[in-house]
Amino acid sequence: MLEVRDVSVSYGAIKALHGVSLTVEQGQIVTLIGCNGAGKSTTLRAISGLVKPSAGSIHFEGKPVSRMPPHEIVRLGVVQAPEGRGIFSNMTVRENIDLGAFTRSDKHAIAADREKAMELFPRLRERISQNAGTLSGGEQQMLAIARALMARPRLLLLDEPSLGLAPQIVQTIFKIIRELNAPPPRGAGTTILLVEQNAHMALNIAHHAYVLEVGAITMQGPAAQLAASDEVRKAYLGGR
């Protein structure tokens, strides 16, 4: 479904990615783990078209997307819930959710999807007309995911959904991610590329995983296999 081939990205003098390659198959949860500064967010930014790769290519369902502007990539169905959540804090929760459906014009279907999102996140229903800036961190993360879902993503990119959240809320969020991915009728069958620092959680729910270190993939394989490896722990905590 998504193929990232040998992508390199530089910010000025800093080379953030050196030839990263990864694939996401339809229906999977693929996770990209690695410590801070490894280039995980940059990878997602490149997929979303926010940064242009200096080398390599990105294909979504066979179409080259690396030269497309971000809003057109969204139209293809690649939707990102960015790191730090990117909530529009001076708009209401409802306006935030509706912005997610910006690329769509089918009013009834949007209303139905909004209803579905509320079912998924009942907390948001209670706060529908509040300013999004007044939400707690966990609620904002829920809003960010709900908002991304409104675009009916075929591929959902989640950037550090657990960042700065208390453990219980992290559990809830991950449960929802799993539900989203579950095939219909239980879930929506959404394909998900998940960037996480919280490796345990991520490896738990993912099918396939990549480990990113200093801008390059150093390990990959089935999530369960990686979770069992000693290398992952080393990648995070350093080995002697």
């Binding site: 000025g12 003098a13 800093i14 080379k15 953030a16 410590c35 801070n36 500064g37 961190g137 550090e160 657990s162 960042l163 700065g164 453990p167 992290v170 559990q171 449960k175 620092q197 919280n198 490796a199 345990h200 959680m201 991520a202 490896l203 738990n204 729910i205 200093v214 801008g215 999530a223 369960a224 979770a227 069992a228 490896s229 000693d230 992952v232 722990r233 995070y236 905590l237 350093g238 080995g239 002697r240």
Partner: protein, 272 residues
């Protein structure tokens, strides 16, 4: 918190806190650095490490708590005053004076110790000329130490990334600090560069006799060079101790790798 009997404390941080809006970025953070310490400050993304640096250097004022540098209270002072007192730092996202030559970046660091007057500088009084010469000499020495002497006249922004990191350290050292705060000096470096950086930090410590507090994500580096490590998460200190203890501390492992799996998860996974 241990403080050695023989060596004197250079930096004493007593339960400082800082909130932004409702978010408690740093809570009751305490730390003691003795002369010659090389301490690591680690924690997952968003844990509040850089906020600690910003509090120490006066970019933010702590809501409560005390910071004393060589027995002088510095909490609440402006960054330039704290720098004068002997604390210098580098930045996570390099903040060099990009348009200025490399040499001037380092010479700027010596400014805080300058004694000349504006009028003296304009008139090129003998004192001012002499001081200017001394500043240049010192800056060149520092550049030589970092192997940057050949690039003195280049614009800082044209340096390769690794050299920019080094230049930031050189600039901070030019202020003659007692305490040097390094914010992720290895970020974006490859493993070869990291090895070089590790040696460099050690050399800096022995040559300049500074006390170093290091934020770093590369655990290999931190475990390798730090004598002690403080770990924070959600703005709270969760562990403190020598590297081996930190590496095996379950709270630290949880902070970094996440909580053990919840029972409801089907795909049981063996943990390392």
């Amino acid at each position: 918190m241990t403080s050695s009997g023989r060596r004197s404390d250079v930096l004493r941080v007593q339960s400082i806190s800082k909130s932004f809006g409702g978010l408690k970025a740093v809570q009751d953070f305490s730390l003691t650095l003795c002369e010659g310490d090389l301490k690591g400050l680690i924690g997952p993304n968003g844990a509040g490490k850089t906020t600690v640096f910003n509090l120490l250097t006066g970019v933010y004022k702590p809501d409560s708590g005390a910071i004393s540098l060589s027995d002088a209270e510095v909490a609440g002072l402006r960054p330039n005053q704290i720098c004068r007192q002997g604390m210098a730092r580098t930045f996570q996202n390099i903040r060099l004076f990009g348009e200025l030559p490399v040499l001037d970046n380092v010479r700027l660091g010596t400014h805080v110790r300058a004694h000349q007057t504006l009028l003296g500088a304009a008139m090129r009084s003998p004192f001012s000329v002499g001081e200017e010469r001394a500043m240049t000499a010192r800056a060149r020495d520092l550049l030589a130490f970092f192997g940057l002497e050949g690039r003195a006249e280049e614009q800082a922004r044209n340096l390769p990334y690794g050299d920019q990191r080094k230049l930031e350290i050189a600039r901070a050292l030019a202020t003659s600090p007692k305490v040097l705060l390094l914010d992720e000096p290895a970020a974006g470096m490859n493993s070869g560069e990291k090895v070089a950086l590790r040696d460099l930090i050690r050399r800096v410590q022995t040559t300049f006799g500074v006390t170093i507090l290091l934020i770093e994500h590369d655990m290999g580096l931190v475990m390798d060079i730090c004598q002690r490590i403080t770990v924070i998460d959600y703005g709270v200190t969760i562990a403190e101790g020598p590297p081996e203890a930190i590496q095996n501390d379950p709270k630290v492992i949880e902070a970094y790798l996440g909580a053990p799996d919840e029972p409801s998860v089907e795909q049981g996974v063996a943990r390392a």
